[in-house]
């Protein structure tokens, strides 16, 4: 495939620390490697949720800041793990650690990176419409302006990744 006709020059991977996100990472690596795409992984510290808990008086200010730091550290750890997963397959990954409203930050990244595809993990188990408004994966699907691939089928994807 010539570079000009490559439909997947840039892929953005959204991770959130779940097992589903690891599967998504493996799949994004497989696709990026197969298409010769650039890959960037993004993790967003859910500062919005922390603010809500502060507003609800469940958290005190110091505690909120403490959790924010923890989540930032978590994010770095998850992103490093993706870098290692990609490195194992000879692929370089850029990382982006953001803070804010998760789906809004991902949508911003989609625009600023100019990605051709967003890969994310299997959506959480949402059984009610009410819950779907709170599920970040669901919100991202509704918000971003690019094709989205939801990586389902952990065993199958893991096998594909290992065989790469």
């Amino acid at each position: 495939m010539s570079e000009g006709s490559n439909p997947l020059k840039k892929i953005l991977l959204y991770i959130d620390g779940s097992e589903a996100a690891i599967t998504a990472a493996q799949f994004a690596i497989v696709v990026a490697k197969s298409y010769g795409s650039d890959l960037r992984a993004i993790y967003v510290v859910n500062a919005d949720l922390l603010d809500e808990l502060l507003k609800a008086r469940v958290f005190v200010q110091m505690e909120k800041m403490d959790y924010e730091r923890d989540l930032e550290e978590d994010g770095k750890r998850y992103l490093n793990y993706v870098v290692k997963l990609a490195d194992r397959k000879g692929l370089k990954v850029e990382t982006a650690l953001r803070k804010g409203v998760v789906h809004e930050e991902v949508a911003k990244e989609v625009d600023s990176y100019g990605c051709d595809l967003l890969v994310q993990g299997e959506l959480g188990e949402v059984l009610s419409l009410r819950d779907s408004f709170y599920e970040e994966g669901e919100r991202i699907l509704r918000k971003v302006k690019c094709p989205v691939m939801v990586a389902r089928g952990r065993d199958r994807i893991e096998k594909t990744y290992e065989e790469l």
Partner: protein, 154 residues
């Protein structure tokens, strides 16, 4: 996260005996140490009490969410306690607290901890949820009520 993964019937105290905030927290921590494979009750109690001193976790509508981070537990641990009479927990609205959700997580598990607290905050806004928990006659009934909310049936 699903609560069923973290809360078992043995993590639920249907009739708290404590009459003060300190007694209730001690009782919840005791239940947590018995059911969550840790014997370091003092460390957990210190962490929860230290958090309370920063500001009461007694919210509105008779609900309190005492919580803390502590490496005395290996994973997010939750205990639910119910007091029909209610306890003076320095709640935001000045009313007595009836439903208690004690949550303790290791420092490395802040993500699930925050999610669990947020989920409880969402659940307790549902009046029927609170009412059903108060009337529950068994731990299984409490878990069933939580599942109903998680499954969108309430």
């Amino acid at each position: 996260m699903k609560f069923a993964d973290y809360v078992k019937p043995e993590n639920i105290k249907l009739q708290l005996e404590g009459r003060t905030k300190e007694e209730v927290i001690e009782e919840l921590v005791e239940c947590l140490t018995e059911s969550c494979c840790t014997d370091d009750a003092d460390t957990i109690l210190d962490a929860v009490m230290a958090r309370e001193r920063e500001g009461s976790t007694g919210l509105e509508k008779g609900v309190a969410i005492p919580h803390a981070k502590s490496d005395a537990v290996s994973k997010l641990s939750i205990v639910i306690g119910i007091s029909k009479e209610g306890i003076d927990f320095d709640a935001l609205d000045g009313k007595r607290s009836h439903l208690f959700f004690l949550m303790v997580a290791p420092t490395s598990e802040s993500g699930p901890h925050v999610q669990a607290i947020a989920k409880i905050v969402k659940m307790i806004k549902i009046e029927r949820f609170r009412e059903r928990l108060l009337k529950a006659k068994s731990g299984e009934e409490v878990l069933e009520t939580i599942s109903m909310v998680e499954n969108g049936e309430m």
